[in-house]
Symmetry: C2
Subunit: 233 residues, 2 copies
Amino acid sequence: MCQDGGMATREQRSQRRTDGLTRERIVETAVTLLDSAGERGLTFKALTERLATGPGAIYWHVPNKDALLAAATEAVVTTALATGTTAATPREQVREVSLGLFDAIDEHPWLAAQLTAELSRNPRGAVTPRIYDSFGRRVRALGVPESGWFTATSALVHYVLGAAGQNAANAVAADHEVDRDEFLDSVSSSWEALDPDDFPFARAVADQLRGHDDRRQFLDGLDFVLTGITAGR
Amino acid sequence: MCQDGGMATREQRSQRRTDGLTRERIVETAVTLLDSAGERGLTFKALTERLATGPGAIYWHVPNKDALLAAATEAVVTTALATGTTAATPREQVREVSLGLFDAIDEHPWLAAQLTAELSRNPRGAVTPRIYDSFGRRVRALGVPESGWFTATSALVHYVLGAAGQNAANAVAADHEVDRDEFLDSVSSSWEALDPDDFPFARAVADQLRGHDDRRQFLDGLDFVLTGITAGR
DNA sequence: AACGACCTGGAATGCCATTCCAATATGGAA
DNA sequence: TTCCATATTGGAATGGCATTCCAGGTCGTT
């Protein structure tokens, strides 16, 4: 095979740490790594370096990488949803929670995919009911009849996750660009250069791309959903 | 290090293939692998085995795995959007395209995440304008004023991707379960067991989970968006 | 002061994407 | 027909990664 002959037993172990390694500290570090380099940035190597330890120590606190991702997701979502309500009308309250999640995903671009995974893989966990409750309570306050609660809330959550996920992905991609305006401008130009027979619409809206406000667009879309949900009233 | 001493030159190469290895055949195989085992199922090892070749041959046709994923995405999306229109009203036409994409994502659960990535990473490629055009043309037909085209279409696409992505993730998760009804039932029960003070809403809608129709729920949500988009008329 | 449960970190394993390269086809020029 | 350049192939090597194993340390209890 390729054995290197054992080289005696380990002679000297490095000093044992005095500050305890806790699951909390690990999750915290994981979030930092995810934020700075995306899902690919979370490796056990980076983790062990940051925490000045070895993989075994981490695995004692956390069963595997997926669980670590789930824990990071839960930590971030819980914080994001824990904002006190200041808005007056139910509609404004929905906007408030939605923006909270939108901003959290913008700040933690890896969150959208993890949330989708968490909602389906772990519907019994803490995250799924927390999200549905945050949105659902406000949907109820909107005056939706009980039979429509689940459908309306699902539609809302799906829109928010879809839009926020796309926005976060865009933001990461735009990060590689020097200047956002310049980037949008060049995309817009390339849409204008498309064959008018094959892509009449892309051509027509190319100009609307330039300098549009993502947050504003998100809220406008949210209003479509809200209007639809409350339309029967 | 660990050199094994060269063992002479290769004496006998296995028979060279007669059927050409083409980019198309590779992408086709990639889609098959993705469909059967998700993104984790697409490995160069599996690919070389299926195609009875080596990694080098594949890399001659395709620059890397990301490009292969992008090509697979484009192939599937192009097919999904290439359905002729049979619906009468613009609103029904939007439903038609949306369902086409929803079903494609349901059939290829890896597609949602890839589409989000493709839309942001490669807005100049073929996929992004194709999607925007498919939806946008019908939005225009809905009677939306030109200034609202981009916003309305984006909202629509975001909702469809969000809902379809969540649905596909759910379907994959449910695949591991024996029975869908039984699974929904157990989730519903665990929601009912939640603390009524912390999760009043989840408790209240737990029953609506049981036996709900995903496709129907998707269309109901789509109607909210459509109603919102056309509300100003 | 010694035992065991808890906790640590380094080495070993096996999978994966990617690169390198020697070997092989193929078809046009001589 | 022979020969060569170019297109194409597949296997070996490389380096990174998650995960497992294990030989140890630490500390509270007795």
